[in-house]
Amino acid sequence: MMLQAEHVSKQFDRRVAALTDVSFSVAKGEFVSIIGPSGAGKTTLIRILNGSEACDSGQVILSGQHLEQARGREKTRIQKMIGTIYQDFALVENVSTLQNVLNAALPDMAFLPGILGLFGKARREEAAALLGRVGLSDKLEEPVHSLSGGQKQRVAIARALMRHPQILLADEPVASLDPVTGQQILELLKELQEQDGLTIVMNSHNLALSQAFSDRLLGLGGGRILYDGPVSGATEEVLERIYASAGIEMAVSGDETAASGENVAASGKDIASPVEERK
């Protein structure tokens, strides 16, 4: 098993239960999509899987190593095999796209060349090539803040790939892209999965794309796993349950995003994350 989550729970502020008893596992080389309404806890799950956030209880096991217990060097060693694409990109805005991608090489570099910025020719060329693959070869020296949302997203993708990850955690990797580019990016990820045996866990609001590209669907609603099975098993009825259940639960807790739950199910469209809005 590449990745196992066992009984993972997470609460914010002792009130909001973002995740409750989430268990699933992902085999090596698998492409899994997590679907679910806004506020379901998808981003929180990704952040726990890559060690940015600690879970309150439960276990996260990557290639047999416990991430949730690891500290310091040990943790860093596990984190080095993960590549993450963030929903809000998390790029350094006033630095060039190339430098942002190069930053992903830092964990493998010694301190001195790292601090002096001596990345070497090979790494530079690789970063440039990756940016070329996501269609940004003419923006290498451009500062990130001058890019469009979709272009930023592609920089974030290139940065994650620069890690040569064994597992790629992608939080809405194509949400800001036009349909054609989105399709192309997913084809790129699929290619990496098939050729290099990359394991991919992707959050997505785009049902059609998730169904077309992934091997398995994971339905998350109100912080619980509501569906875990093949793409074909996600019938109309199952989808309705995933998107509606969280809506109801949220309505009870008086969350404003509740109403949009069903809209998402109906249109399969992307809506802004409450986390992003708050920032």
Binding site: N50, G51, S52, K75, T76, R77, Q79, K80, I82, G83, T84, Y86, D88, F89, A90, L91, V92, E93, N94, V95, Q99, N103, A104, L106, P107, F111, G114, I115, G117, E141, R163
Partner: protein
Amino acid sequence: MKRKKTALLWLLLLLLFILAGRFTGCSLPLFWARRSHAADIFLRMIPPDWSYFPRILTPLWATVQMSVAGTVLGTFLALLAAPLCAANLFSPRPVRMVFRILIQVLRSFPTLILALAATFLFGLGCFAGTIAILIYTFAIMTRLCYEDIENASVRPYQALCAMGTPPGRAYFRAILPEIASSYLSNALYLLETNVRHSAILGYVGAGGIGLLLNEKISWKEYNRVGMILLALFLAVCLIELLSSRLVLLVKGERQISRTGKRILIGAFLILFLLSLAAVGKPDFSRTSFQTVRSMFSGLFWPDWSFFLQGGSGGLAWLLLETVCIAFVGTVLGAVISLPLAILGTGRLMPAPAALFFRLLTVAVRSIPFLIYGIIFIRISGPGAFTGVLTMAACSIGLLTKRFTEAIDSLDFRPWQALSAMGVSPLLRIRYAVLPQLLPALGSALLYRFDVNTREASVLGIVGAGGIGAPLVFAMNHFHWRQAGAITLGLILLVWLVDLLSAWIRGGKRR
């Protein structure tokens, strides 16, 4: 290619810093050996003489009045002059040029020098001080204001003009609303600066609490000096608190009701009127037509032989020393400010610690430069090194403030992303924090360097090197032609620094 250039630039800056440090006679060992003298005077100020407090109130109030009156009038006049300087409105080129040169000339002088000049025209007292603050505020505000206008969108203005609205009215209707918030927050910041500056105007006889301060220092009544400083600190705290609240309002980050707004405006009006009342009348009894005439003729027909005099002690040499003092002082100030700013941010520090360091910064800022000069002169003697130390101390306030703002607006998401990849903390600082901070730090430094070149001329009053001492000496001894030459040099210097910083800023944008 580009990286080599940046590396070269840093090296060049370092080299310049070392050269300027040597030129101004900076010596860390000397400072370290005599460090005890720094605390010396401060210790003697404790405990402050509490019984003296009531006697301070009147001059302190006069100081505040002077600065309020001067600031309000100056900012208001700036509002009228700014459109004449702006290139994108109705002002024809010759008018624009004349006004810009005038502003640039006025901008070259610190309040203290303006106040000294004003005492020759309007006699001793608050009137001269108010005029000095007015002119200082006017010059700076006009400059800031017309830069804002030139960055504002002129489309609504053009639309109004096309409808046949007179340009002046179109300016008030279409441009003003756009620059209003930046204008008001600049004005509030200047008000606070002016309160601190006007605290020393008494030194040249221009009224306010500076008279007392000067007197107590020369009589070595340090307990009373301590009391004055404490009162000043409280006043500055109060104004800072008030203006930070107002800035929030002005920037629209907080809302108040209509009546609330009216009450606020009313209160401000009353304060302004009260301030005007205290300014008093100019005292022309000792102003002779002769003085005024020779003063202006000195300005227009400067002493060219002095102007061109080379060698050490010559004008060029003094100006160079002034720039070096400003430069080294700014850098040293930044070195102290950065840790202060980090310690003072609520995002990184526990709240009580952050509050303590913020208060410390306000305290450092509220002490007039004169006090620093007097303290440092005991460490390093008269000369440029004292000037450097004083400049550094005076830069801390503004730099810390700007740095804190930069840290407050940091985006921590890339930091977390790098951390999740397993990048070590030092490398995270290098790649996720510094790139975000550097532009803000750079522009703060540049701005402060510009301010410091102008302010450096007041150092002459405490004998701390640079162009100030000869200027003050020449003015006090009615050597107007010499004063004219120095003035001209100063104007050119400030202009050069201005061009330099515009060039650097332009280069950074490219």
